[in-house]
Amino acid sequence: MNVLELRSITKTYPGVTALDGVSVSFASGEVHAIVGENGAGKSTLIKVISGAERPDSGEIAIDGGSHKAMTPLLALEKGIAVVYQELIQFDALTVADNLFLGASDRGGLHAVDDRGNRKRAVEILREFNCAISPDALMRELSVANRQLVEIAKAVLKKARILIMDEPTAAITVEEQKCLFANIRRLKAEGVTILYISHRLEELFEICDRVTVMRDGKYVATKGIGEIDKGVLIRLMVGRELTNQYPAKEPAGDEVMLEVAHLSGNGVEDISFTLRRGEILGFAGLVGAGRTELMHLVFGAAHRTGGTVRIRGKELAHRSPSDALKAGIGLIPEDRKWQGCFVDKPVAWNITVSNLPKISRGLVVDRKKEAALAAKYRDAMQIRTPSLDQLVVNLSGGNQQKVVVAKMLAVEPDILIFDEPTRGIDVGTRYDIYTIMVDLAKQGKSILMVSSDMEELLGMSERIVVLHEGKQTGTLERAEFSQELVMALASGADDAAGCGCASDGTAEAGEGTKD
């Protein structure tokens, strides 16, 4: 019997169709996995079910009733609870307080029944078979125990549908066993569990059925016994390349950048080389440590081991300014917070990294400043009414071009593009690709981090794949396939050319964004 059924759910954000006519149903007392690549629409699906987002069309059937949209209140009434990856809890309060906040079954004003609450907290925590004291402060608990508290809270709210978003992302093997035991217990009590995970192998251990999503669309729902990991990966990535990418000249032979055994900032023992005029892609799932690795190369994070050589010359740079001087530039992942000064004019942004060069003594030469800004505005084809326009008023794509222009103005030999096209409309994407290919043609070398599989395969000459901070493979163009990249990125131990097993442990505190 189905407890919850989504029918033709569509949800669009400006420029993106996050869910495209998705229909899926969930049976009572099953553990149902939802898998897909970054951006497949899993998060949006959860939000629609929990009432955090309102779908544009479609309907949600629950308890025989049909709804246009859920609301947080309705979700609560129907017993839907979400254990988010980033737990929203009150760190300074006790476990018991956290359990009962907002879980009151009485209305109106009333005193907090501390004694009764504590007793119930002891009982419920005992059911979970874990050693958490109801008097412990939330911030004293491990991530896994916080998760259990959150699940216990859902049980207290009499949740019948429990959604778990990446529950194993930051916990140890032992903790995972405890978690799974509790999931099985809840399942036996008839609770339906929606299980979202990037770790494919654990699905076979805990799930009954799995639904695959891709590009906001429903692909298939399979009983876990009918498939193996290979089938799952094919279902996840199985699409044709549709975008066109500008033709790129092959890279030169000269090695520009040589990274050996680089560690720190959550990544471990990474080695690769970058040749003149090459675009080297970096693949991995959210939290794999790609951005962290780029910050390490750029000197923006503390290095604990390994070497970085530019044209054979070792760099002991400790700061971005050293890296820039040595000829490495970074176009950061988060434009608004890391890439540009949104409250400042376009010209100001383009020249900010390069001011001493266009100054006579201390004084900025305004003619040189205007000329430099104009030069890169034209080179990047930044569409802005004037160079005095504030960056905040530009479109996302043009903001990204400003960020690229800022770095290019310093004339580095090596450029790091971290998610160069995230949140950018299709037309401007092509502009960015063209810029990158042109830069490579001019002899610049490029490191590109991307969560867009097509973009990675279409633009890169080689791809380094990371999984949980470790390098799981380096692919030459001839070996490129979505399945292989996906397998390596998921840490699958049966992936071709990859001997490293996923041990199920991950560094805590990593990979907490989605």
Binding site: F298, A300, S319, P320, S321, A323, L324, K325, L330, P332, W337, Q338, G339, C340, F341, V342, D343, K344, W348, V352, S353, L355, P356, S359, L362, V363, V364, L390, K406, V410
Partner: protein, 315 residues
């Protein structure tokens, strides 16, 4: 589009309009207000505040607020006065020493906020207490009065019989700081670091070196404030600085300097100082008491916040 321009224009010029309006009002209410002697009074009463507000502006541009500047003033004023009174150093050397000490105190604030990884305002609450103790230790709770005429000349001398030296010194400093902030690349770096420190770091700016520079400049300006103030009063004591902290911050907030950093225009700060100064002087002249002054000051602050928020929405 036109309406937007109009709103921006109004909020940009709201302070000068306010200043002119209050001058006209007080001139109509009291015939002594527009006399040369009173205008000179307004000038000399606000010179040290102008210099101090310039320091506050620089600190706010890099995204900080320093509550300890008042006691920095006390420490430096007492130090200079005592050094001169006890004949330890000649006047010029005492002044140089005082300003250098103030730069060190400011740098100490900056270093503390870096080491403790806390917001400068919170750090300065602590250093404020330290500087308070320091100034009372130095002054032994005494007032050092009767500073020599040569020292008093620094702020009180009237060039050609009418132009106060304090005004000349302040004008020069304001012009230099204005030039520094607007024309030099270091000034540009201050705004970048305050606007978005992470973006500045990733853009290759040495964020802390730039912040330390700002602290040093602000420290020097606070030191000059201490000199101007003690020269004006002919005395120095530990209680002379603290009241000014709030006045300086008030002027900057009135001038629309963003608390989050990265923004702030010097000429507006100077005009704001004079709005507050004219208000204090004029209300006293027309015989309104202190409490109506408080209310007027508060009302003007709230009004200017309204205007600046409107322009932000419009932008």
């Amino acid at each position: 589009m036109k309406k937007t321009n109009w709103t921006v224009w109004v909020s940009n010029l709201s302070l000068p309009i306010l200043l002119i309006a209050s001058v006209v009002t007080f001139a109509l209410l009291n015939d002594k207000f527009l006399t040369q002697i009173n205008l000179t009074n307004i000038l000399v009463q606000n010179m040290h505040i102008t210099v101090l507000s310039t320091a506050v502006l620089i600190l706010m541009i890099i995204g900080g607020i320093d509550l300890s500047i008042g006691f920095q003033i006390s420490v430096v004023a007492v130090l200079i006065a005592r050094t001169i009174k006890e004949g330890i150093l000649p006047i010029w050397a005492a002044i140089v020493l005082g300003i250098l000490v103030c730069m060190v105190l400011a740098l100490f604030n900056g270093a503390m906020s870096r080491i403790l990884k806390s917001h400068t305002m919170i750090v300065s609450l602590g250093t404020m207490a330290v500087f308070q103790g320091l100034s009372f230790l130095l002054s032994q709770s005494k007032t050092y009065g009767g500073l020599p005429k040569e020292y008093q000349y620094i702020a009180q001398y009237r060039i050609g019989g009418w132009l106060p030296t304090s005004a000349v010194i302040t004008l020069v400093l304001v012009l230099v700081v204005g030039w520094f902030l607007k024309r030099t690349y270091l000034g540009r770096h201050l705004y970048a670091v305050g606007d978005n420190p992470e973006a500045a770091r990733l853009a290759g700016l040495n964020v802390w070196r730039i912040k330390y520079l700002a602290y040093l400049i602000a420290g020097a300006l606070v030191g000059v404030t201490a000199v101007l103030l003690s020269s004006r009063t002919g005395s120095a004591d530990s209680g002379m600085g603290p009241d000014l902290t709030f006045t300086g911050i008030t002027a900057c907030v009135l001038a629309g300097v963003a608390l989050k950093g990265g923004e702030g225009t010097l000429w507006k700060v100077v005009v704001a100082v004079f709005v507050l100064g004219v208000l204090a002087n004029g209300m006293q002249l027309v015989g309104l008491g202190t409490y109506p002054q408080y209310i007027a000051k508060g009302a003007i602050m709230l009004g200017s916040l309204y205007l600046s928020n409107r322009s932000q929405k419009a932008a």
